[in-house]
């Protein structure tokens, strides 16, 4: 690849979208200012998110029905890896809680060859800004997840990640719902990929807070995961 470090032509940003019409166009354009290749996977939204995406320069993949964030991520990765020249894959949340600068920082680590997978963590810096209840939920998930402990991860459910091409070629997300984040972690723990965590800042706006994971969802994630590890 002749791509210079600055052009980011070999990077694909995957944004799973479900009912985010208020913010998605802005988020997609913001990302595109740095990363020319963006694919938004509309996961069967009913609020016109797809039309919003169509108005931007981002690629659009539409699930005809809602299948969950994990399924949307896998679809986006499957699409992006067939694009010519794609080498790095960034997963990015649609609600605008991630910063593009952080994605660049993660990408730098991946480009340096120090890691095959770079995960964002909310617990590296500025922990105080995370709402207390959310912090408890996230900490509990990590504490109860043997795989997250094995990798010494501090944050198993951060939507900001950078995956290199060999990882994406190998990875298959089968958990369609929210547990996909833990599924990715347990996949990484069972593989020989080098994993790094890099601190990121989450922008907790009222919008993203209303959309984020609740305590109830934490219970669901734990249940789905325990079943998955038995059955499969």
């Amino acid at each position: 690849m002749p791509d210079g470090v600055t052009s980011n032509d070999d990077v694909w940003v995957v944004i799973p979208v479900f009912n985010e019409h208020q913010v998605i166009a802005e988020v997609a354009e913001q990302v595109r200012a740095t990363f020319p290749n963006v694919v938004c996977v509309d996961d069967g939204s009913r609020d016109g998110s797809a039309e919003q995406i169509a108005g931007t320069g981002a690629h659009l993949v539409r699930h005809p029905i809602n299948m969950g964030q994990g399924a949307a991520l896998q679809t986006g990765l499957s699409y992006a890896r067939t694009r010519p020249g794609s080498q790095y894959f960034v997963t990015f949340d649609a609600d605008g809680q991630h910063r593009v600068e952080d994605a660049l920082a993660l990408l730098e680590v991946a480009r340096s060859g120090a890691a095959d997978v770079v995960l964002g963590t909310r617990f590296g810096a500025g922990t105080g800004r995370i709402p207390l209840l959310k912090r408890l939920v996230l900490r509990t998930i990590v504490a109860l997840s043997p795989t997250a402990r094995k990798l010494k991860l501090t944050d198993a459910h951060n939507g900001l990640r950078v995956l290199t091409r060999p990882v994406v070629d190998d990875l298959r997300i089968t958990m369609n719902g929210m547990p996909h984040a833990s599924e990715i972690v347990s996949y990484l723990a069972g593989s020989s990929w080098r994993v790094r965590e890099v601190p990121v800042t989450i922008l907790y706006s009222d919008y993203s807070r209303a959309k984020g994971q609740s305590l109830v969802n934490g219970v669901n994630i734990l249940f789905d995961l325990s079943i998955r590890q038995r059955g499969n």
Binding site: A54, H63, S78
Partner: protein, 142 residues
């Protein structure tokens, strides 16, 4: 308290089945035999309630109906797990089907939006050729 051992063993068997990665022909046959045996036991229980109570007493349960109830609970758990596994398999296939459709459609839509043709990668190869590479529905990427 024989019954407790028997019932706990049955629940354990259900869990083991659930943990098993693959369900082979033997497992399938076993499930069917189990179902028929359970149905036969119920027929017997309806026809011979007194004999059933005797059996129940010998196993350490008060009445025959209680024994049937306990077995029903085990059978219910068993059936639930079975359905859950099958449902998940269907869900997995359904997801793959939907994903393939979504990506195919996206290839067309994004080509119409002139996204696949205007990618910076097109500079290095002839534009027409790149377009074809980009939009060709190659091997399923699942």
């Amino acid at each position: 308290m024989i019954v407790q051992i028997v019932l706990l063993a049955a629940v354990l068997a259900a869990l083991v089945m659930f943990v098993r990665r693959r369900h082979g022909v033997h497992m399938q046959a076993g499930k069917r035999v189990g179902l028929i045996a359970f149905a036969a036991l119920n027929v017997y229980a309806v026809l011979q309630p007194d004999r059933l109570t005797e059996v129940a007493n010998r196993l350490g349960v008060g009445r025959g109906t209680d024994l049937v109830l306990y077995l029903l609970v085990v059978a219910f758990i068993f059936g639930m797990l079975n359905f859950y596994l099958r449902f998940r398999e269907i869900d997995r296939r359904f997801t793959e089907l939907t994903r393939t459709l979504a990506i195919r459609e996206a290839e067309i839509v994004n080509a119409e939006r002139h996204l696949t043709a205007t990618r910076p990668v097109a500079v290095t190869v002839p534009a027409g050729a790149d377009d074809r590479v980009a939009t060709a529905p190659t091997r399923p990427t699942l």
